[in-house]
């Protein structure tokens, strides 16, 4: 919806408006600690620690290699991660496992930062399919010139529909990631929750415009609620546009003691679709 509004508003002011790159003075905030910890099913634990840097000209000296990072899986014995440089910390053996809870503790300059995250079972992708966008918009002519500018005009644009299983008895939280011809077009994830779904299938539409021959890899991550909230806010902050954005803010972290960033346990499923004339149009129901 946001995009449609932006379009209307832009159309109105397109005649006289003007964009310029300008210089503005931004304060340099005291560096704040940023922790990005990640545990993906069957992958080694990986934590990255950095400090915030100047907004316009980030320097590369932001990495923190002097922290102690400890991960504990359920009630097992803690695993202290190894620093591998560039602010990265990794485990030799600890891999993500569905149904486990993880605790991360970071100790730096006598301060402790802590977070918990639960690793859910992997999402189930039932089906991937496409629907011509023009039929979505209800135009019967099928002529490309009727479609808003910005897309390629050599074929009819399609939208992608991913059908995921969702447990009707509880809330599921998904982070979607789409790779178009090898390039990640989600920045970094498209968060989807099933709050409004009424049965066991969740239809996720990507109204992006795909064309014949495009290869799309869909990755669906399942996460816990706090992680979802973080990435939902992150998406809000990063996609903000001048007409519908709320006042800027820092996404709410699940890490204690004021650290920025997130500690996220994730499970993942992946599927691939190539847009071709043979692909049957999927039902949007």
């Amino acid at each position: 919806m946001k995009k449609t509004f932006l379009f209307i508003s832009l159309a109105l002011i397109a005649l006289t408006s003007c964009e310029q790159v300008i210089d503005i003075d931004l304060n340099l905030a005291d560096p704040a600690l940023v922790i990005n910890g990640k545990i993906v099913q069957d992958s080694l634990v990986n934590v990255c620690i950095q400090e915030t840097t100047s907004y316009f000209s980030p320097d590369s000296q932001r990495c923190i290699d002097s922290a102690i990072v400890i991960i504990t899986e359920d009630n097992n014995s803690p695993d202290t991660l190894l620093n591998i440089g560039f602010g990265r910390y990794s485990s030799k053996s600890l891999k993500g496992k569905a149904g486990s809870s993880y605790n991360m503790k970071v100790i730096l300059n006598h301060q402790e930062y802590e977070a918990d995250s639960f690793l859910p079972i992997a999402p189930l992708i039932y089906e991937l399919g496409t629907l011509p966008l023009l039929s979505f918009f209800g135009s019967d002519s099928g002529s490309e010139s009727n479609f808003p500018p910005g897309g390629r005009r050599d074929s009819i644009p399609n939208m992608l529909i991913s059908k995921l299983y969702q447990d009707p008895s509880e809330d599921d939280y998904f982070l979607m990631q789409y790779y178009l011809n090898g390039e990640n077009i989600s920045k970094p994830y498209d968060p989807v929750s099933d709050a409004s779904a009424e049965n066991d299938t969740l239809n996720i539409r990507l109204v992006s415009g795909f064309y014949l021959g495009d290869t799309i890899v869909v990755k669906a991550y399942s996460v816990d609620k706090d992680v979802f909230t973080y990435f939902d806010m992150l998406e809000d902050v990063l996609s903000g546009n001048i007409f519908s954005a709320s006042t800027p803010y820092n996404p709410h972290s699940n890490i204690s003691n004021g650290a920025l960033g997130v500690f996220s346990a994730m499970n993942v499923s992946s599927d691939t679709v190539i847009i071709s004339a043979q692909i049957p149009v999927i039902s949007d129901q």
Partner: protein
């Protein structure tokens, strides 16, 4: 006993015991029959007098004697009338317009020293004729834009009709058109106001010391009155402009008794856009607004008059039949004036007002939101003697809020989000006295009691800390779910230091029970109104103001200095990341806190002469403190303006050529910019340290308007307005956003969006 004392005693006895009679009637324009609002009727010895009210009515009760009355109104020839008052009399006066220079800017339309002698402070009246000469964007003359050139009133954003009064948010202005609330006073995404100057008679703005007769909004009242229509002869007026054209027709239904006026405007931006080589615009594109003002009045007998007026306007944007959006206001006001005896004036009003927004993408997506209300209102004015006017009244309003309905999918069952409609009743009862206590000391004091009931049918929810519904209660139709009430005292005092200067002080408390949810500074058509509820608290504002008023050169130059302080309770903002549209948990995400605003306002105005105009300057701060935002510290409100300066100058080269110019300068609004960055999963994430801790660049702009009057023909006259908006083509910032630099990979850059460079426009006017 001195003679003087004896005289005083005799005078007092005469007032106390002597026979008294009343003189009453209506003061109107001799050429059109329009009632004159705020015309002065005074005793020629300067001891006492009164003003005509908003229906032109006056009533004077005096001891039996012979008097010479002086009736005056700016822009009209004075009238002297000798009267021998021995019985109650009805006397209507008609004033003849003075032949004045082409353009004498009159922000006050009353007698020259009204700013000194009136008890009211922090008030401005606008003369519609002069507003039409002001240079504005696209050549559309606009009362709301002219208001923004006065001290204490600041523009929300470029071109916008949204404005903030003394640190209030844009939803804190009560905008009335013939008593009906106008919820969204703008066309074209906020760039043109809904008020068509051709249909308007009088505009009064209250920034402080707001009389007890008004209630419902926290910061200001903009009281706009429509013309009644010429009851002497038919006339027509037309204007052809760059953006829109307009036509007004008025005339008598029965001469000197009943009249009507119809005024219409339509823009044709789409027609112009189609002429341009742009891909966006095709033949199927619609982009226009229209509005219609209509009013009729009937004089039934001398004691009874009926007024029926209405407004209907809409904005339409349609794209190739694929997508469309429209929004607009509708108002209806029916009024009945009745005079009981000679001293009691009654007005009974029935008012309907509605605002609707709709959006549609073919048959697939549709959404709507809106608000409407029906009001019954009864007001009495009692004129016991020239030194006292008492007003008493009550009103009650039923609101229906539609915060949003959304349908998506070819099958309507596919996705549907209907936010519950809300209902409420707002009532008020008041009394107010305008009292001249001594010749030098006068007061206006009153009390308003307001009550607000959120009513069923509907669910009232409670939420837990994760904003999940934890409890719900069903309320039946009309059943009150939540009740608020407030006492709102209103007091103003004026002490005349001399004929040329006075000192005024005022205090008022205002309660506001309806709120507009808005993310933007300027206000958008999509902003929805919601009711106060168990979770959303009413806004309460206490305002103290002091002012010193001084006129020079026989009232040729007016000056004033005012200071104010406002204390606000129930100021609201949103939790981080709150989606404002179609959020059925929005109530749970509104945070309540407090606010404060204070400022200094300077005003200097030259009323007469070839060269006239005004200068206004405001120095102000507006801050708020809301638990959960900015680490619970005070922060600048987004409409905080530190400096706000406006120059308005007119020069009449001759009776046919007039040049006017405005120059505005103001501090950029408070915004949140990042103070650092970090990287999460390959994305650069901005790091924010303080809410609204930065400023947009300062704004300034010069506009010019050249008014050329053609030869007066036998049956018609013509004129041209040539306007240039933003003469020195400054690209003022509308917004600043950040993005990755294309030239220096890895770096970020700031991008300024400017809406308008230099915009010339041309309007042709015909008067028949």
């Amino acid at each position: 006993m001195s003679k003087r004392l004896l005289y005083i005693i005799i005078m007092i006895s005469a007032f106390a015991f002597g026979a008294k009679h009343s003189l009453r009637g209506v003061i109107s324009d001799a050429t059109t029959g329009e009632d004159l609002i705020g015309a002065t009727i005074s005793l020629s010895d300067g001891k006492g007098g009164t003003f005509s009210n908003s229906y032109g009515f006056y009533s004077l009760t005096l001891p039996d004697d012979e008097y010479i009355l002086n009736i005056s109104f700016i822009g009209y020839k004075d009238l002297n009338y000798k009267i021998d008052l021995k019985s109650n009399q009805v006397k209507n006066f008609e004033l003849t317009p003075a032949v004045i220079a082409l353009n004498e800017v009159e922000v006050s339309a009353d007698r020259p020293d009204i700013n000194i002698s009136s008890t009211q402070m922090s008030v401005a009246k606008l003369n519609i004729k002069n507003i039409e000469m002001m240079p504005v964007l696209f050549g559309e003359s606009d009362i709301l834009k002219t208001l923004q050139l006065l001290p204490g009133i600041s523009t929300a954003s470029e071109g916008s009709t949204g404005f903030s009064v003394r640190g209030g948010a844009i939803d804190e202005n009560l905008i009335l058109l013939d008593e009906a609330t106008v919820y969204s006073p703008s066309h074209l995404m906020g760039f043109v106001s809904v008020f068509n100057s051709d249909a308007l008679k009088d505009v009064t703005v209250y920034k402080g010391g707001i009389p007890a007769t008004y209630g419902g909004r926290a910061s200001s009242v903009i009281d706009v009155q429509m013309n009644n229509g010429n009851n002497k002869e038919f006339s027509a007026k037309a204007g052809i402009g760059l953006i829109s054209s307009r036509l007004t027709v008025e005339g008598p239904i029965v001469k000197d008794c009943c009249s009507f006026i119809v005024s219409a405007r339509r823009s044709y931006a789409d027609i112009i856009l189609k002429a341009l080589p742009l891909d966006l615009i095709t033949n199927e594109t619609q982009l226009y607004f229209y509005d219609l003002n209509a009013k009729a009045n009937l004089k039934i007998k001398d004691n009874d008059r009926l007024f029926i007026s209405g407004y209907f306007g809409k904005d339409v944007f349609g794209f190739d039949g694929i997508m469309g959006t429209d929004w607009g206001n509708a108002t209806f006001t029916g009024r009945w004036n009745h005079i009981f005896g000679d001293k009691l004036f009654s007005n009974t009003s029935f008012i309907y007002s509605d605002y609707d927004y709709g959006f549609q993408v073919s048959d697939l997506i549709s959404m709507s939101s809106g608000i409407d209300n029906i009001t019954f209102k009864q007001d009495f004015s009692y004129f016991p003697n020239p030194d006292l006017t008492t007003k008493i009244g009550f009103n009650t309003s039923k609101y229906t809020f539609n915060p949003g309905k959304l349908n998506m999918g070819l099958d309507s069952a596919d996705f549907k989000l209907v936010m519950d409609e809300q209902g409420s009743i707002e009532s008020g009862i008041y009394f107010s006295n305008e009292h001249k206590i001594t010749p030098l000391f006068s007061a206006e004091y009153g009390l308003r009691t307001s009550m607000y009931n959120q009513i069923g049918p509907g669910w009232i929810y409670s939420y837990d800390e994760d904003n999940y519904i934890s409890d719900s209660t069903w309320y039946n139709k009309w059943e009150p779910a939540q009740t608020y009430w407030n006492l709102e005292p209103r007091v103003s005092f004026n002490y005349l230091l001399s004929e040329k200067n006075s000192f005024k002080v005022s205090y008022n408390r205002m309660a506001q029970y309806v709120h507009q949810l808005s993310n933007s500074t300027s206000g958008q058509a999509t902003d929805v109104w919601i009711s106060s509820s168990t979770l959303v608290k009413p806004l309460l504002v206490d305002q103290f103001a002091l002012g010193y008023f001084h006129n020079f050169l026989d009232n040729g130059i007016e000056t004033s200095i005012e200071v104010y302080y406002k204390d606000m309770q129930g100021v609201s903002d949103f939790e981080d990341g709150t989606d404002i549209m179609f959020n059925d948990k929005i109530e749970a995400q509104i945070l309540n806190g407090k606010g404060r605003a204070y400022g200094l306002e300077l005003y200097l105005k030259k009323n007469y002469g070839k060269f006239n105009g005004w200068l206004s300057y405001t120095l102000a701060r507006t801050e708020q403190k809301i638990p959960g935002i900015n680490n619970d510290n005070w922060y600048a409100a987004k409409h905080d303006r530190i400096h706000d300066l406006s120059f308005v100058l007119n020069y009449s080269f001759s009776k046919k050529i007039n040049l006017s110019g405005t120059w505005v300068y103001y501090t950029g609004s408070a915004v949140t910019f990042p103070s650092g960055q970090y990287i999460i999963d390959g994305q650069v994430v901005p790091y924010y340290t303080e809410r609204n801790g930065y400023r947009m660049p300062d704004y300034h702009r010069l506009d010019l308007n050249l008014h050329l009057k053609g030869k007066d023909r036998k049956n018609y006259s013509t004129s041209w307005d040539i306007s240039i908006y933003n003469v020195y083509n400054r690209y003022n910032a509308y917004s600043i956003s950040f993005r990755a630099s294309e030239t220096n990979p890895g770096d970020m850059e700031a991008v300024k969006l400017s809406l308008f460079g230099i915009v010339p426009s041309l309007t042709f006017n015909i008067n028949l």
